[in-house]
């Protein structure tokens, strides 16, 4: 299926709504070009030290290595499924690093990069995809909520949380992550209406990776997504999602506005999912190889590397060291995954309610007695 043929069939010409892979995007906030050139933007700027730049590169490289390893582990039968972030590293690292410690992230199931910036152990994320728990991290301590698989539901959670912050008088904000497909969901629209009505301190961070699984964006929206924000009554901005500096700048500004009581912002991080939707998907069935090749030229890591090299902020030794660290991380992830213990059978009773009910306690006791009825004792 050709994306452009679909576009000509179903989409009326709307200014700025042409096929998203067209190079000319006048309204795109960009601070680092795909060639690695630092450029200025009239409204957004970012002041990052050389050390911070190197750290951003390290984040991007390590998160990508984690993602590649997890994909391989799925193909080796060690994970039930994996949702790859390949190509979206800059959007996630930029957004995650823009957050203040008390800001709360409400992720989808693909925000591995944001998890990384919140200090969540990759193995805690992987345990969810291996099916041994529902996500092993503490959402309160990390300020990173558990993954939400229901499309768009987390935008309501984030808005509610933000309204709570508002009532507490807290100077922090909620960052709701969503994809382009989620903007077609009812609850996302409800969340935006509530957020606007109450000027809730929430930022809607939409990674527009161009496909809702297999459905191209043109099928879902006749206007660029960031323009929808105007309809809800708050600002919308489109940022180059493969430019970590621009994402950092735009998200920081949006969070600062939320902290200051100026209400929500919608950020459309314009990016591309280089891999499959999940490991169960075959993207070659619905998109063109030429499109992928075009996006390869806009790789988020390559452009930062080019900038760091050219400006002398990082040298060969630095890149080698990051690569070695990435390999170590991969080994740790692989080892940790295959050695991950299965939960005891009784774990299924533990998190049903905050407090155990008599009925559940009885079920648990019965289950334990049943397990104990086998020779060799309880099978964990």
């Amino acid at each position: 299926m050709s994306v452009s043929s679909v576009a000509t069939e179903v989409v009326d010409p709307v200014p700025g709504a042409e096929a998203p892979h067209l190079p000319h995007q006048p309204d795109l906030v960009q601070l680092l070009t795909p060639e690695g050139e630092r450029v200025e933007h009239p409204e957004y700027s970012v002041d990052v030290s050389p050390e911070e730049l190197r750290d951003l590169y390290r984040d991007l490289a390590l998160v990508r290595r984690w993602d590649v390893e997890a994909t391989a582990l799925q193909r080796q039968g060690e994970l039930g499924i994996w949702a790859s972030l390949l190509g979206q590293e800059a959007a996630q690292i930029g957004a995650g690093r823009a957050m203040a410690p008390d800001d709360m992230a409400f992720p989808t199931y693909r925000e591995h990069g944001v998890a990384w910036t919140r200090g969540v152990d990759p193995l805690h994320v992987i345990s969810l995809f291996r099916g041994v728990d529902n996500g092993g991290w503490d959402p309160v301590a990390t300020h990173f909520n558990l993954y939400t698989v229901v499309i768009g539901a987390q935008t309501l959670h984030a808005t509610g949380y933000a309204m709570g912050l508002q009532r507490d008088g807290a100077e922090s904000a909620a960052l709701a992550f969503l994809g382009d497909g989620a903007t077609s969901q009812g609850e996302v629209n409800e969340a935006m209406i509530w957020a606007a009505s109450f000027s809730a301190p929430v930022v809607f961070f939409c990674q527009n990776n161009q496909y809702a699984i297999s459905v191209p964006l043109e099928r879902q929206s006749r206007v660029p997504l960031y323009q929808r924000a105007a309809g809800f009554g708050f600002p919308g901005v489109r940022v180059d999602g493969n430019d970590v500096l621009a994402v950092l700048a735009v998200t920081r500004a949006a969070l600062a506005a939320a902290h200051d009581g100026q209400g929500p912002t919608f950020i459309e991080a314009f990016t591309y999912r280089m891999g499959a939707h999940t490991t169960s998907d075959d993207p070659t069935r619905y998109r063109l190889a030429s499109e992928l090749e075009e996006w390869k030229l806009r790789d988020p890591i390559a452009r930062l590397k080019a900038y760091l090299s050219r400006s002398g902020i990082a040298d060969h030794d630095f890149f080698d060291a990051v690569e070695a660290e990435a390999d170590e991380l991969a080994v740790r992830i692989r080892r940790g995954t295959v050695e991950m213990p299965d939960p005891p059978g009784t774990a299924m009773f533990d998190s049903v309610y905050a407090e155990q009910t008599p009925h559940l306690a009885r079920q648990r006791a019965e289950f334990e007695a049943y397990q104990a009825s086998f020779e060799g004792g309880v099978e964990r």
Binding site: Q76, G77, R334, P344, F374
Partner: protein, 496 residues
């Protein structure tokens, strides 16, 4: 020799049971690194590369490219040299390694993450402790039934996990295990003896158990008629009716049907079994698998009826019944000769249309036991006289209830003669496995335009249902028109 480890085909999608190895990207003797692509596999969802889980040397490729392989089956053997820590943990004898499919996982579990298909290793259920008393349950929780018969594990024996995986793996394996356990229990009996009672627990599904409890039927007194001796809903219903009849005799309980509902006066509840049950299953299967199209044609059969009178007087037809059905059958056979596609079957499993070489002509027959559809084998080769004999014999056998399964199997196309009941036509449902059925209505004297004038003529209606997966409207129409032409002017047969 180092550590030989086998990589089993994982479920690379969600719930896949098999994959085709498109090509090998490594050969025996190659050195591979972790995550180096080993092969390309195509599943129902996607074509993907499988990366190597270990570094080592390839010692065997267990399937050739182009082979369909079950999820969980080892596909490649890699000598990991025993150098890596993982390899050191691997067991001897090429068994699946720790952490891998079928191998040991931390906590003494067996890793099964690769998919829902069966494991390649032998799974043994650990024995129960001898003399173990079932888990104590609070008194309040105890229903009359459980109080009467102590709980026993449902699966007293190991499910047969060597069953070939099928689609919907989990469900099918579960069913297989259930069937296996049921058979074991039925044959051995002792395997599922309720502790202390010394009597096997009756086999019945939970809804049937509930029904029995509701109707006050003791399952231990019944003999199951289901597969493996399982007590069915019908068994319980029948037992309840017997009990109710008995109760009524003694002026006891209300009469209740199998559904447990009170039976209003005059209402009769008939257990669905035998031919009725088979017919119901066949009709449901046919109506909901083959998309039916029905076409109708009204035909002036006056000439055919005249021919019938003339032929019946001929010595060759002495002793056989020269019925209108005979002419319809002959017309259908001649028309099949022109349109062989009508005489075909849909093979879902093979994704093929089977065009049959011979016509086994089924005749739907009403019998005291219900509808049966015996068929005349290779009917197209019979002369009209032979066909008349065959049809007579077939209907006689059916009415006498002596139709054998062989007589009923292998049909390729069917005629249903609804006209004998005095009705004009109907929309017949295909005999399962066939793609066309012709309904033949009553022959009536009707006003008909004949040679430009309204005249009394003998008229009948034909209705042809066909499987629209195989037969398009055009083919169906042409076939029906041919049958009609042969009946309205039997001389047309000379042109066929």
């Amino acid at each position: 020799m180092g550590e030989l480890r086998q990589f089993a085909l994982p479920d690379v999608g969600e719930g896949l049971t098999e994959g085709e190895i498109l090509q090998w990207l490594v050969a025996v003797g190659d050195t591979v690194t972790v995550n180096q692509p080993l092969c390309e596999v195509e599943t129902a969802k996607a074509a993907v590369e499988l990366p190597s889980p270990w570094a080592g040397t390839v010692t065997a490729l267990l399937y050739e490219a182009g082979t369909m392989v079950d999820v969980g089956a080892p596909i490649i053997t890699i000598d990991t040299g025993g150098g890596s820590p993982e390899a050191a943990a691997a067991r001897d004898g090429g068994e699946p390694a720790a952490g891998l499919i079928g191998g040991a996982a931390p906590g003494g579990r067996t890793a099964v993450l690769v998919g829902y298909g069966p494991r390649t290793t032998e799974a043994r259920r650990r024995p129960r402790r001898a003399g173990h008393a079932p888990a104590a349950r609070p008194e309040a929780d105890r229903s009359p039934e459980t109080a009467a018969s102590p709980r026993v594990p449902l699966l007293a024996t190991a499910p047969d996990l060597t069953t070939k995986p099928v689609r919907h793996g989990g469900l099918e394996v579960g069913r297989a295990a259930e069937a296996h356990a049921a058979a074991e229990e039925a044959s051995a009996g002792s395997a599922a003896v309720a502790p202390g009672s010394g009597r096997p627990r009756p086999l019945a599904k939970p809804p049937v158990r509930k029904l029995a409890r509701d109707l006050g039927v003791d399952l231990t007194t019944l003999t199951g008629s289901g597969p493996g001796g399982v007590i069915t809903r019908a068994d319980v219903g029948a037992a309840a009716q017997v009990a109710a009849a008995h109760g009524a005799d003694t002026g006891g309980t209300l009469l209740r049907g199998a559904s447990g509902a009170e039976t209003p006066p005059g209402e009769q509840r008939i257990p669905v079994k035998g031919v009725r049950k088979l017919t119901a299953a066949a009709m449901v299967a046919s109506a909901f698998t083959a998309p039916h199209v029905t076409e109708f044609l009204t035909v002036d059969v006056t000439r055919m009826m005249k021919l019938r009178t003339r032929l019946a007087a001929r010595p060759e037809f002495a002793g056989v019944k020269v019925s209108p059905l005979l002419f319809v059958a002959k017309a259908l056979l001649l028309a099949v000769g022109r349109h062989p596609m009508v005489n075909s079957s849909w093979d879902e499993a093979a994704q093929e249309i089977v065009v049959h070489g011979q016509v086994n002509l089924g005749i739907a027959a009403a019998t005291p036991r219900g509808l049966v559809v015996p068929n005349v084998k290779d009917a197209a080769r019979l002369s009209l006289g032979e066909l008349a004999g065959a049809l007579g014999e077939l209907t006689e056998t059916a009415r006498a209830g002596r139709t054998t399964p062989a007589d009923m199997s292998g049909g390729t196309i069917t005629i249903t003669n609804v006209g004998v009941f005095g009705v004009d036509t109907g929309t017949p449902i295909l005999n399962p496995g066939e793609s066309a059925i012709l309904a033949f209505g009553a022959v009536r004297d009707m006003p008909w335009v004949h040679k430009g004038k309204v005249k009394p003529r003998q008229v009948t209606q034909l209705a042809l249902s066909f499987d629209h997966r195989i037969i398009d409207g055009e083919l169906g129409s042409r076939f029906l028109a041919d049958v009609g032409a042969l009946l309205s002017d039997p001389g047309t047969a000379l042109a066929f």
